[in-house]
């Protein structure tokens, strides 16, 4: 429960209001985690927030967090520069079930900053590329200036063994890419739908839309994996802030198989 000090080695401004930190532990110890897990990140004297880990788990000497500045803590964190020290508690939560999907085609469905919790999984899938069938990323953003991890997307798109379908909500006239919702990108994907496994990271209303679209193409809900975000505070299943019905997101999640939590999506104000 005690935060471990990490120094910010690098700050990357991804898009306006979103920044990525590369962190190094002060004691030099590697930080071991699985894709999909999260940390509690603490700015001393300001506050602590849950943030998913966005880096490559095979590079345990560098911890990567991408944060959107939306509240008092994340706005204060945005002012920090390389060299500043923050506290880290973690890793917490259930990771993406990569070993359960070996042999399948994989489709990743996400938008804007939702790519952050999936990025580590995509890195790991590419490290183990021979274990999987087709790999397709469907990613949507508001506009062409809101594309996260653009360098990664370019690299992934350039590979011969994966596909990236990018879509934006609107674009200047003359733009040659796809414009529209992520659903259009999903429909453009060519995978073996009856056996594909889907990883969806979007806000909850939009997760349902993505799941419905996938279901229409033949992806049953027991082959859809989602991640939930809630107000996590203790991160070890004690305080109850992140409880939804019978589940504590911090320890039972944040990754869930969709069919196991689907009823919770229809409960108003949960």
């Amino acid at each position: 429960m005690v935060p471990v000090p990490f120094r910010i080695a690098k700050v990357i401004r991804e898009i306006p209001g979103v920044y990525t930190w590369h962190l190094k532990s002060l004691d030099g110890k590697p930080f071991v985690y699985r894709p999909g897990q999260f940390n509690m990140v603490y700015q001393f004297g300001v506050g602590e927030i849950p943030v998913s880990i966005s880096g490559d788990c095979r590079e345990p000497d560098t911890l990567v967090h991408t944060i959107r500045a939306v509240g008092p803590v994340t706005n204060a964190m945005q002012q920090l520069r390389a060299g500043a020290v923050v506290g880290i508690r973690g890793p917490f939560g259930r990771p993406w079930p990569i070993d359960e999907v070996v042999g399948s085609d994989l489709i990743f469905v996400t938008s804007t900053i939702g790519l952050a919790p999936l990025r580590g999984l995509i890195h790991e899938v590419l490290h183990r590329r021979e274990d999987f069938g087709k790999v397709v990323v469907c990613y949507g953003t508001r506009g062409i200036d809101d594309i996260m991890y653009e360098a990664d997307l370019h690299k992934w798109r350039a590979r011969f063994d994966m596909h990236v379908h990018l879509t934006v909500h609107s674009a200047p006239s003359g733009y040659r890419g796809r414009v529209g919702g992520v659903v259009a990108a999903i429909r453009a994907a060519q995978v073996d739908w009856p056996s594909a496994q889907a990883f969806v990271c979007r806000s909850e209303t939009l997760t349902r839309q993505a799941v419905d679209t996938l279901a229409g193409l033949g992806v049953t809900k027991d082959r859809v994996w989602v991640t939930l975000e809630r107000n996590m505070q203790c991160a070890i299943g004690l305080c109850g802030h992140c409880q939804i019905g019978p589940t504590f997101v911090c320890k039972d999640g944040p990754v869930y198989r969709y069919d196991q939590i689907e009823p919770l999506y229809s409960v108003r104000e949960f």
């Binding site: 959107r68 414009v179 919702g181 939009l206």
Partner: protein, 163 residues
């Protein structure tokens, strides 16, 4: 005659015509022609008479909204297998946006003015057409509603949850 048969086959292979009554397909083929547009070329423009609709065979079509004192904004792109243009079904039969070829585009162009007349006299043809347009309209309406939800809620969701 050979030309008409080819066009009918082309039309029959488009998702729009799947399962269509053969007689209706022949009637619609009589109102169809091939069209090719170069990248950047306008297919139709906001305010012009809407007397056609289009089935995309190849390429990417951008639907654009004209913004006064600014460049147009692309609000949607459509690709092979998609259909666009339904203003020909609704008075006053004027386009409410621009459509432009994003790259080399091959289309089947359907003469909506011709079809409107035929649908008046053949209600089963009208039913075939509406049966295909209404789900597309509903899907695009639902999609646009979700885009509004996305634009309105995604930052708020993170704000509430992430401090």
């Amino acid at each position: 005659m050979v030309h008409i048969v080819d066009l009918e086959e082309t039309l029959a292979h488009h998702p729009f015509a799947q399962g269509m009554d053969p007689e209706a397909l022949r009637t619609i083929t009589g109102c169809a022609s091939n069209a090719v547009y170069r990248p950047g070329e306008y297919i139709f423009r906001d305010g012009d008479p809407a007397d056609n609709f289009y089935l995309i065979r190849h390429g990417l079509v951008a639907l654009e909204i004209h913004v006064p004192q600014g460049p147009p904004i692309v609000v949607e792109t459509l690709e092979a297998g998609d259909i666009f243009g339904w203003s020909w079904l609704l008075p006053p039969y004027r386009w409410s946006n621009d459509a432009r070829a994003s790259d080399q585009v091959r289309l089947l162009k359907l003469d909506g003015a011709c079809l409107r007349g035929k649908m008046e006299n053949d209600r089963s043809l009208g039913y075939e057409i509406y049966k295909r347009f209404v789900p597309i309209m509903a899907r695009r309406l639902a999609g646009n509603r979700m885009r509004i939800v996305e634009l309105a809620t995604e930052p708020a969701v993170h704000s509430r949850q992430k401090g």
